[in-house]
């Protein structure tokens, strides 16, 4: 059974809810969905899981971008309702007919809804009855995640090999949201969703292919809904359907992970990739602005769009303002944009998700006159990037230091990260910066693992004339940190900067030790130090650090990475993608940027210039 169905504007006004359902929801799933999924550029995901005391909901949604409407369905997770996507799509179609921006009450929609729901339920029922074949579905390589959900039936962990594929930071937002469940990270949301649906298809014994066929036959009506207004060939039809509305058990998963399965589009996609690449190169030489190139791009876009349409009709459309943007129209521009992001060193996975989210926010929108698809897409992406990089929490450390001081406690910062990223050096820079603002600082040498680490820190301490707390090597770093904090409390230091050993994210014993250190000392800030040079690995590093901190923690509210320090920023030229990847995957803001060898080379991230560079 559905728990709740809601139609609201992007402005936040609820236009219609299903009174029949009328169940009071536990917690605030809708607000949480908006805050930690839709506004975090994760709206490309298939579903969102929300846990509150006594409730485990799954939420699904669809946008009507032209009208600025959002449709959300909430149901109990254990129910695996199959008709929800179907229902939402129908709801959207019917509601957009009667919607009027000036009107705020839609009581007459109740009756329409009742019918739609009956239809959808009946269709789902039919599907269920007709398919008694059990056949495990394991085509997603990302299924490693699924285990978490607790439906193990038939879901073998099939090499969770994609970079970062099983490292979703999961609980990244747990702390911030208080009651948000762990699966805020889209990777996980999507995967869990897939996993669940898979699980359900195992249990409920569906056969994928037959199901698909059946949909095509029996579900004619849905198909027309889905493809309303689109005149593309059948292959495209399927693609579109999958991506947008239809998150029925199996199809969507194929799409998200493995584009090669979309027989029809395969070629087009590859072509797009190639051309995009070369264009990037050119652009770097000529330095962005030149109009002709963009025209060229557009021409290419349109060519890829449809081979039937000539360039003239495309040009004409761009002048006259096109009816509504469809997925297929956006695809080439998005592809080019994705490639551009990747040349800036954004992790592929992240670029992909962003593009999906931007697509979700544009689809169905009217293209304004005299604008090209590519520039519309670019504008939407720019807005999304600004949104992501704008810190969600305050990054005013000095304010927090003063607050801690009032409580007569030292403010503890733990620096974590993989080997050789410059933890100690940048720790010293932060110390220098704090000193300049009349904050008394103490260093704690908790890298008791790598030889020479303590001496290195001691050198910095001597140069900055800061006290350092050290206990040599072979000691448990968690204990050393604890003693350091006690010492700082005694001698009245305002801030303790804890240096830890660099560790690879897969090194289980060392990660365990880190988790212990964090748990035992409850630092005010866990600062992840990462190299700005890193590409796809950024996702893996951050998500695994967070994952380990969450998994190995004993407390119900584990402390995760709160902020990021990007090092070696001066060496990367315009390849600033790591900043984006890290912020996106962890939800933590970039608090400092290290950009040189001297103590003064520490900056704040300039969001505007980063966004500009990324899109250049």
């Amino acid at each position: 059974m559905l728990e709740q169905l809601l139609i609201f504007t992007r402005g936040g006004l609820i236009l219609w809810t299903c009174k029949e359902l009328g169940n009071a929801l536990k917690g605030s799933p809708i607000d949480t969905l908006i805050r930690s999924c839709l506004l975090e550029e994760r709206s490309g995901a298939a579903s969102y899981n929300y846990d509150a005391p006594g409730a485990a909901y799954t939420l699904k949604w669809t946008f009507h971008n032209e009208l600025g409407l959002v449709f959300v369905a909430v149901y109990q997770r254990i129910l695996h309702l199959l008709y929800v996507d179907d229902l939402l799509a129908m709801l959207k179609r019917e509601f957009s007919v009667i919607y009027d921006p000036k009107r705020t009450a839609y009581d007459d929609f109740d009756e329409t809804f009742r019918q739609l729901r009956m239809e959808a339920e009946a269709r789902a029922e039919e599907l269920k009855k007709s398919k008694p074949v059990a056949k495990p579905v394991n085509n997603s390589k990302k299924q490693g995640q699924v285990q978490k959900v607790g439906f193990e039936g038939g879901n073998k962990k099939k090499g969770g090999s994609g970079p970062g594929s099983d490292g979703g930071d999961g609980n990244g937002r747990k702390m911030e949201n208080g009651h948000a469940n762990g699966n805020t990270d889209e990777t996980k949301v999507a995967l869990v969703a897939n996993g669940k649906e898979n699980a359900s298809s195992n249990i409920g014994a569906f056969d994928v292919n037959k199901l698909q066929k059946l949909r095509a036959k029996g579900g004619k009506k849905t198909d027309t809904v889905v493809n309303k207004g689109s005149k593309v060939d059948p292959n495209k039809k399927i693609t579109k359907k999958n991506r947008v509305w239809d998150v029925s058990p199996t199809e969507s998963k194929l799409d998200f992970t493995d584009p090669a399965d979309q027989n029809g589009d395969e070629n087009a996609v590859i072509v797009a990739a190639d051309e995009g690449e070369s264009m990037m190169d050119k652009e770097e030489i000529v330095s962005s602005e030149s109009e002709t190139e963009e025209d060229e791009e557009m021409e290419k876009d349109s060519k890829m769009e449809t081979k039937k349409k000539g360039w003239f009709s495309a040009m004409f459309q761009s002048i006259a303002g096109k009816a509504n943007l469809e997925k297929a129209d956006l695809e080439p521009a998005l592809k080019a944009l994705k490639d551009r992001l990747m040349t800036k060193n954004v992790a592929e996975e992240i670029a992909e998700k962003l593009c999906e989210s931007v697509a979700a926010s544009l689809e169905g929108k009217k293209l304004a006159s005299f604008t090209r698809v590519s520039s519309t897409v670019q504008a939407a992406m720019e807005e999304a990037l600004v949104r992501i990089l704008t810190p969600r929490r305050s990054i005013d450390i000095l304010r927090d230091v003063h607050a801690a001081k009032e409580q007569r406690k030292p403010y503890v910062v733990v620096f974590v990260g993989v080997n050789g990223v410059g933890k100690s050096t940048n720790l010293a820079k932060v110390a220098y910066w704090l000193l300049q603002h009349n904050v008394s600082v103490m260093m704690a040498a908790c890298d008791t693992f790598r030889s020479g680490a303590v001496e290195q820190l001691r050198t910095h301490a001597r140069r900055l004339q800061i006290p350092i707390f050290e206990k040599g090597y072979e000691k448990d770093p968690a204990i050393v940190a604890k003693e350091a904090i006690q010492e700082a409390t005694r001698n009245g230091s305002d801030v303790v900067l804890v240096d830890t050993a660099g560790r690879m994210q897969d090194n289980e014993p060392l990660m365990r030790a880190l988790s212990k250190l964090v748990n035992l000392n409850n630092p005010d800030l866990v600062l992840f130090v990462g190299e700005a040079l890193v590409g796809n690995d950024a996702v893996d590093q951050l998500s695994k650090f967070n994952q380990k901190l969450a998994d190995l923690s004993t407390s119900p509210k584990p402390q995760l990475i709160d902020g990021i320090l990007l090092t070696k920023f001066d060496t990367i030229d315009d390849k600033v993608g790591a900043a984006l990847s890290m912020v996106y995957i962890s939800g933590a803001p970039v608090m400092f940027v290290g950009c040189g060898q001297s103590y003064t080379d520490l900056k704040k991230l300039n969001v505007k210039s980063i966004v500009k560079t990324l899109l250049k």
Partner: protein, 259 residues
């Protein structure tokens, strides 16, 4: 590319024809036409300039969940409808306040903007502040203490924006949700906000060296911060968006956007 070539030829022909036609025109007609064009553009431009000098925009801002959208619809429709969820986009409307609809005579409509409070959407605020005649900073008086620091920081950022300071845009701190008995009083909230801002003043002036641009500093050095020290007028009021007790808000709006 044949197509393209054809089109180019066609275009050239057209332009040649256009030029010929232009030459055949009598001169006086030509001048008259040019004059008309000039006059209209000048007229349109002056209208725009005139409009800008007298803004009728009131911006609702504040943390997420403070009740901005509810207030927006109270102002517009006199009802909070079925309720609200977290906003993803601003709400904008130009209307005569609902409570004034019954009044006779011509009333100047107000342009009200409700900017979402989610921190990721904060940059949106900058789009609306330059044209604001007044800013309403909505505070949740019910859940005030847990959000005190965040609210103060947001308010601090607004009060130090150059667009606000230079134009001395008046700010109303609106304590919302006072329909509940557990809501804090506006005096208490004002004091707490002042205290918190005082702390930010210390830390922010330090940070500005490190690239975060707060364009202006607040208050008088060496004195504890109070809203009275601001160059623009900062006042405090209460309201309840849910029950529609928004008279103080309407007074504020009508003080700066004359009917």
């Amino acid at each position: 590319m044949d197509e393209l070539e054809q089109w180019r030829i066609q275009l050239q022909q057209w332009s040649r024809q256009g030029a010929e036609w232009f030459h055949q025109m009598p001169e006086t007609q030509l001048y008259a036409a040019i004059a008309v064009v000039f006059v209209t553009t000048f007229f349109l431009l002056s209208i725009r300039l005139f409009k800008r000098t007298k803004s009728n925009t009131v911006v609702l801002t504040g943390l997420s969940g403070s009740g901005k959208t509810t207030l927006f619809y109270q102002l517009q429709d006199g009802s909070s409808h079925l309720g609200t969820v977290t906003s993803m986009d601003p709400n904008e409307g130009t209307f005569v306040l609902h409570s004034e609809i019954a009044k006779k005579g011509k009333i100047k409509p107000v342009h009200v903007v409700d900017v979402p409070g989610h921190s990721r959407l904060r940059p949106k605020l900058d789009e609306f502040l330059p044209q604001a005649a007044g800013i309403v900073f909505v505070v949740d008086a019910l859940e005030f203490l847990p959000n005190c620091r965040a609210a103060s920081e947001y308010l601090y950022d607004i009060l130090t924006k150059s667009s606000v300071v230079k134009k001395k845009i008046p700010v109303l701190i609106l304590c919302n949700k006072t329909d509940k008995v557990t809501a804090h009083t506006k005096e208490f909230i004002r004091k707490q906000l002042e205290k918190e801002i005082e702390k930010f003043r210390a830390s922010r002036s330090a940070i500005s060296a490190a690239d975060v641009v707060n364009e202006f500093t607040l208050g008088v050095p060496g004195e504890a911060f109070g809203f009275s020290q601001c160059h623009n007028k900062v006042t405090v009021a209460d309201a309840s968006g849910l029950t529609g007790e928004i008279s103080q808000l309407e007074e504020f709006i009508r003080e700066y956007v004359k009917p």
